[in-house]
Subunit: 442 residues, 2 copies
C-alpha cells in the first residue's frame, strides 16, 4: 500500500554494468537484484509483472487444451545418455554430482524427461494427442551472461510438448500452438512475427521463432510489413482453419539473418513493404517427429502396430518476456515506461504532496486508495517526503499506467489524473474509477 514500506529499492543512477535499456530499467526501479553472475532475485515489482505474464501464458495454453504438469529442475544424466545428448550438450549444461556421486544435471530443456514420462504412462493411440506443458526454472551455464534477465543463467520458461500418432496429427498440434502464441503475445501488447527458423541443436524439420521488433534486439530481421495485417481473429481450433492461417503467414517473407537471402527478399517483397530491423525472440516452436521417441522407445499401440509417437516442443521465455516488453515499450530518451494494464505491477499510483505537519493529502490518498481497492483497482501510495516533481519522475520510470496527483491543483473531491507521461485532467474518484475499469475490461 505505502511505497515507504515496500521492498522497492529505487536506484538514483544507471548501474554501469547494465548495457541495454531493459536491464537498466529493471535495476533502477528495483524489479530485480542480481545475486550472482546471470542469476537474479525478483523483488515485488518485478515479481508481480512476471506472475501476470505467466498467468496469460497459462490461460492461452489451457485454451487450446494443453494439460499442465511440472517436471523437476534436477534431472538424472541417464535419460540424457539414452537420447545421446549428454555429451553433445557441452558446457552450457550445469552438471552436478550428488552425495552418492551420481551424475545429475540442472535441466536446460526437457525433451528427455517428458518422453520418459510419456513412455511410462501412455500405451494406446486412443489416448492421443497428449499435449502437456510446464512452467519451471531452467539453467543454462552461459559463458558470458549479460543483458539482465534477457540472457541470464537461471530463467523461467513455459515448455510444452506434443505427442501424436502421425505427422498429420502432429502438425495439427503444432498449429494449435502457433495460434496460441499469436494470441499470447497480442495480449501482452506485442507484435510478434512468426518466422521460419533453423532447427538448431534440438534438430527436426519444422520450426518457427516468434520475434518482436525492438531496436536493441539481438537478431536482425527481414520481413514484409504486410505480415502484420494477417487476421487470425476468426481462426478456429480445427485442422482446416489452422492450416489456412499457417498458409497465410507462409506467403510473407520473414526471416532472421541466419536464413536471409537478398535475391529472394527483393523478389518477394516490394520496396515499400520491406522492413529491415532488429528483434528479440520470445517464443519458439518445433516439430521434430520421432527424434526422441525412437531413441528412447516411446511408442503407442496403433491398432496392433507399434508406432513411435511424433513429437513437437513449444517454448515461451516467461522471465525474458518481462525484459522484452520493456525493450518494446520503454522510451529511455525521456525516461518513460508504460506497462500494459493487464501486466502492470499496480494499476494506479497515488502521488500526494506531503508537507510537514500537514497530513491532509496523505489522508485523501488513503481514502482514494480504499475506494479504488473496493473495485479491485490495485494502487500504491507514494508516502515519502520527496517533492511532487521527483515523485512523478520516479513513477514515469516505474511505468504504472495511471497516476493520481494530490497537490495544489486538487480540491476536496477532485484530483489530477492521467496516463503515465500524458496530460492530466481534473476528475473525481468515480470518474477515475470508470476510466481504469474500462481499460481493464479490454
Amino acid at each position: 500500500m505505502f511505497l515507504s514500506k515496500s521492498l522497492i529499492p529505487i536506484l538514483k543512477n544507471i548501474p554501469s554494468e547494465a548495457k541495454i535499456k531493459s536491464h537498466q530499467l529493471m535495476l533502477r526501479t528495483g524489479m530485480i537484484k542480481q545475486s550472482s553472475a546471470g542469476i537474479y532475485s525478483w523483488l515485488p515489482l518485478g515479481f508481480k509483472v512476471m506472475k501476470k505474464i505467466e498467468s496469460i501464458v497459462r490461460e492461452e495454453q489451457d485454451n487450446i487444451g494443453v494439460q499442465e504438469i511440472l517436471m523437476p529442475t534436477i534431472q538424472s544424466s541417464e535419460i540424457w545418455k539414452e537420447s545421446g545428448r549428454y555429451n553433445d550438450y557441452g558446457e552450457e549444461m550445469l552438471r552436478i554430482k550428488d552425495r552418492q556421486n551420481r551424475e545429475m544435471l540442472y535441466g536446460p530443456t526437457n525433451e528427455e524427461l517428458v518422453t520418459e514420462i510419456f513412455r511410462n504412462s501412455i500405451k494406446s493411440y486412443k489416448s492421443l494427442p497428449q499435449l502437456v506443458y510446464h512452467i519451471q526454472w531452467k539453467f543454462r551455464d552461459e559463458l558470458r551472461p549479460r543483458f539482465g534477465v534477457m540472457r541470464c543463467r537461471e530463467f523461467y520458461m513455459k515448455d510444452a510438448y506434443s505427442f501424436d500418432v502421425d505427422m498429420d496429427e502432429a502438425i495439427y498440434s503444432y498449429n494449435k500452438f502457433f495460434l496460441s502464441y499469436l494470441k499470447t503475445f497480442k495480449r501482452l501488447e506485442l507484435s510478434a512475427i512468426p518466422m521460419a527458423a533453423d532447427t538448431g541443436p534440438i534438430g527436426g524439420n519444422l520450426s518457427h521463432e516468434f520475434i518482436i521488433i525492438a531496436e536493441t534486439g539481438e537478431s536482425k530481421i527481414y520481413t514484409d510489413k504486410k505480415i502484420f495485417d494477417v487476421d487470425y481473429s476468426e481462426t478456429k481450433i480445427s485442422k482446416d482453419s489452422l492450416s489456412s492461417l499457417r498458409n497465410k503467414y507462409d506467403t510473407f517473407y520473414a526471416v532472421t539473418d541466419e536464413k536471409f537471402n537478398k535475391k529472394e527478399f527483393d523478389n518477394k517483397v516490394i520496396e515499400e513493404n520491406k522492413l529491415i530491423t532488429k528483434g528479440i525472440e520470445v517464443g519458439h516452436i518445433f516439430y521434430f517427429g520421432d527424434k526422441y521417441s525412437k531413441t528412447m522407445n516411446a511408442s503407442v499401440d496403433n491398432k496392433g502396430k507399434k508406432e513411435y509417437v511424433k513429437m513437437g516442443s513449444y517454448g515461451v521465455g516467461v522471465s525474458r518476456l518481462v525484459a522484452a516488453i520493456i525493450e518494446a515499450k520503454y522510451d529511455d530518451k525521456i525516461e518513460l515506461m508504460k506497462w500494459p494494464i493487464n501486466i502492470a505491477p499496480y494499476h494506479c499510483v497515488i502521488l500526494p504532496q506531503i508537507n510537514k505537519n500537514d497530513k491532509s493529502n496523505l489522508e485523501k490518498s488513503i481514502n482514494i486508495y480504499n475506494k479504488l481497492k473496493s473495485k479491485n483497482i490495485d494502487c500504491i501510495i507514494d508516502d515519502t517526503d520527496e517533492t511532487l516533481s521527483s515523485k512523478v519522475k520516479k513513477f514515469n520510470l516505474i511505468g504504472i499506467p495511471y497516476q493520481i496527483i494530490i497537490g495544489k491543483n486538487s480540491g476536496q473531491n477532485n484530483f489530477e489524473f492521467g496516463g503515465v507521461g500524458e496530460n492530466l485532467s481534473v476528475y473525481n474518484v468515480e470518474k477515475i474509477e470508470n476510466i481504469i475499469l474500462e481499460e481493464l475490461k479490454n
Copy 2:
C-alpha cells in the same frame, strides 16, 4: 474433460517401494512419477492439488501483508561463507561447480540470500517491518530419500522472512505468521497443533512447529486435547490480540518427543485430556534475532543509531502438504480418499456406463459436463469402457469429492449422485449443481 485423453496413469497394484499410504496413493492414482531418487514429476492430478494448496498458502500470506518475491534456486557460496554455514551444513547441501569453477549450491534454505537482499535495499527504520515470502523449489540431498514427496530431495516450499527494528516488533511479526498458519491449515481441513519446538540447526530462541495428527507421522506427540478448542476466529492483526492468542495456546501442554517430559505432562494434563499420538510437521516458524543480521551486517539507521535488524523465518512445505493431507484423509483399509473440495483436482466426476454401439450415456455425460462447466464446476468424464463398478472403485481412490453415475438407475434428467464413498440419491442436474455450489461457497 475425458479421462481417456488425460495424463492420469492409474496403476493396478501398490508399488512395492511405497511404504506409507500417501506415497502409495499418489503413485497409484498417477499424481506423481519418480524421475530419480527423491525427485518427482507432478502429473496433472497431483499438480492441480499442489497448485490449489499453493494458492491458499499465498492468500493467507497476502492477508497479513507479506510481500511476495522470488529468489533463485542456485546460490553463490560466498554469502554462506559470510554467515559461517557453508562448512556447517554438511552433505545435505547440494554443492555445484559452474563452468568457471565457481562454488555454487542449490538453496536448501534462504536466510543468507534474503539477508543480502535486505541489506542492499533497506536503510531506515521507517521502512520496517519488512515481511517477504517466496514459494520456490529447494533441494536437500537426503541420504535416504523416502516416503514419496514427504521426505524427498527436491521439494516446493513457502519461505517467509521478517525484519524488524527490535524484539518487540519482531514478536509481533512472528505472531502474525502464527495466526496466518492456523488459518492456512484450517482452510486445508487440517487440525494443526502449534508446538513449542527446539530451534535446531538454524538456531535462535523462539520456535513453533505446526503438526497435524496422522498415525503414520514421523514425530510422536504429547498434547492436551483442549488445545483443539482454542478459538482464533476473533483474533485481530494487532499486538494485543495476537499476543493474547499466543498465551492461550501456551497454557496447553503440546510437545514432540524431543521435548517430552513425563512428569510435566502428568502434572499439566488431566488423564482424560491426554492425547499421545503421531504427527507430521507441515509448518515451522522461528525467531532468531540478529543471528544473521549481525554476521552479515544487515542494519538500519534507527534515528541516528545503527541497529541490526531482528529476523524470523516461517516455512510451509507446499509439496509435502499434498502427502500430509492424504495421510490425514485417506482410509486405506477401504481404499477411500476424499479431497477437500477447495483443493480437489476436480469438483465432480461423471461415470457413465458405456455399452458397445450405445453412446447415449456418454452423450448425457457431455451434456451434464457442459451445464456444470457453465457454473464453474470442474468435472472429468470417465469415458473408458470399464465396468461401472470398476470406475467407482478407481474414483474412490482418486478422491474427487462428488460422483455422478449414469447407468441403469438414471433417467433422462435424473442421475445417481453423491459424495465419494457415500450413499447415492437420484437428482436432476440443477439439484446437483446447487449442492456442489453450496459446498464451494463454504
